[in-house]
Symmetry: C2
Subunit: 223 residues, 2 copies
DNA sequence: CGGTTTTCCGTACAGTGCACGGAAAGGAAG
DNA sequence: CTTCCTTTCCGTGCACTGTACGGAAAACCG
């Protein structure tokens, strides 16, 4: 019985050391560790203990890897179940923010490339159907969805650059003070108040989100 | 009369061939022409007919140049005069969008760096004082301003990547079709409708903006 | 003139993405 | 087993990047 499973090591046609999946996982890890600036094909290959050019069997370019890594982490957002549209959207967007905080390189990438990966589209679909069920359609529906994703992207982008410039909450009080004074001089203490002193981004995020959702609510058909 | 103006070439202490201003203007032109990816210190120097390293007399790094270029084009937004808060904000944000369309590299940069330049702060101040005059304060004020600037950034970012992927309205009907089908398959025709067929970004922009402004309006004190 | 400071920039170095072409490994066929 | 083909791996090389360093040249002051 030479074709018995026990006499063959494995069924699958080939067992390459590298796979697209392994590459993408390593890319996400590398981006998390070094950021977009520290991400290079050589460093990625090193992480996989492979030669640099081996990557190009599975991927056409560095851009490809970034696209794949981006869609990969978008997949970490679990698509919300059914429920009232507002709670559903709040849950979904809160998760989006958390993913972008875990992977601070995301907002920079979403700003430059179209989100056409399967995970991105699946998440986008959740937004469309939630708001369509709530009664929106046509250009208003598109505007609402666009506004929501712009909001979360923009919020986390500025949250991230803020953490980047002060590094840690307690340390670097000097930089903190310099920026504070700078903002005070040029914008006034109104701005300084919450932008600098207040580290509670979570609350601030929900506050702005409520604003947008209230705006959307005014477009809903009565009932 | 040896000190007569006619016997001296010029009064000013030094007349270097390069100045920070000339560098920044050239940087903006180069970014407009080649985008962020095509922007290099060597290309910038060539445009100024100078050696590459000469730039470093006026600027510490490439990052510096990008910061300066960014604040420069933000300066193209003319700070609105007085007026009812809503019209004022619409005017201001419409202009922001136009500037970002003229300089499509802007959203990519704002996503990664803090906007601390004088022009950026002056524009930010317009937002704060308009909404403060309208009656907002504290965290709500900050949320409103943040939401508005997130919105315009996010909107134009996705508008730009859209133009990038289809290049011109009429040409490249093939790519257009491919993306259309892709979105159709994964998100449904609801999304496809305006995202692909509809090229009227201006109207779409104002629609989403109205949504946000309505949300802000609900936070205003009565009267 | 001499001395100092400012401006200019050539060279060099360590890094990048990736084209090319060859080596090696595995499977199929004779 | 041998031969051949396909897939996987990757070393080398090229054109290009940001910028450190140090020297030349020019412009000012005395």
């Amino acid at each position: 019985m030479p074709e018995s499973i026990w006499f063959r090591a494995d069924d699958r046609p080939r067992r390459p050391r590298l796979t697209r999946e392994r590459i993408v996982t390593a890319a996400v890890a590398l981006l998390d560790a070094e950021g977009v600036a520290g991400f290079s094909m050589r460093a990625l290959a090193a992480r996989l203990r492979a030669g640099t050019m081996s990557l190009y069997e599975y991927v056409r370019s560095k851009e490809d890897v970034l696209d794949l890594a981006l869609d990969e982490v978008i997949g970490e957002i679990e698509p919300a179940e059914a429920g009232p549209w507002r709670e559903l959207l709040v849950r979904q967007l809160t998760q989006s923010r958390q993913v972008m905080r875990r992977h601070p390189w995301v907002p920079a990438l979403t700003a430059t490339r179209p989100l056409l990966g399967p995970n991105a589209l699946a998440r986008s679909r959740v937004f469309y159907s939630a708001l369509a069920d709530a009664g929106l359609s046509g250009a208003t529906l598109v505007a609402a969805v666009g506004t929501l994703s712009s909001y979360v992207n923009g919020f986390v982008a500025s949250e991230n650059t803020w953490w980047d410039t002060v590094r840690t909450p307690e340390a670097d009080a000097e930089i903190r003070g310099k920026v504070t004074r700078h903002l005070d001089d040029h914008v006034g203490e109104l701005a300084r108040h919450a932008q600098v002193d207040n580290g509670d981004f979570e609350a601030q995020f929900l506050l702005g989100l409520d604003l947008v959702l209230d705006g959307i609510a005014t477009r809903l058909p009565p009932g």
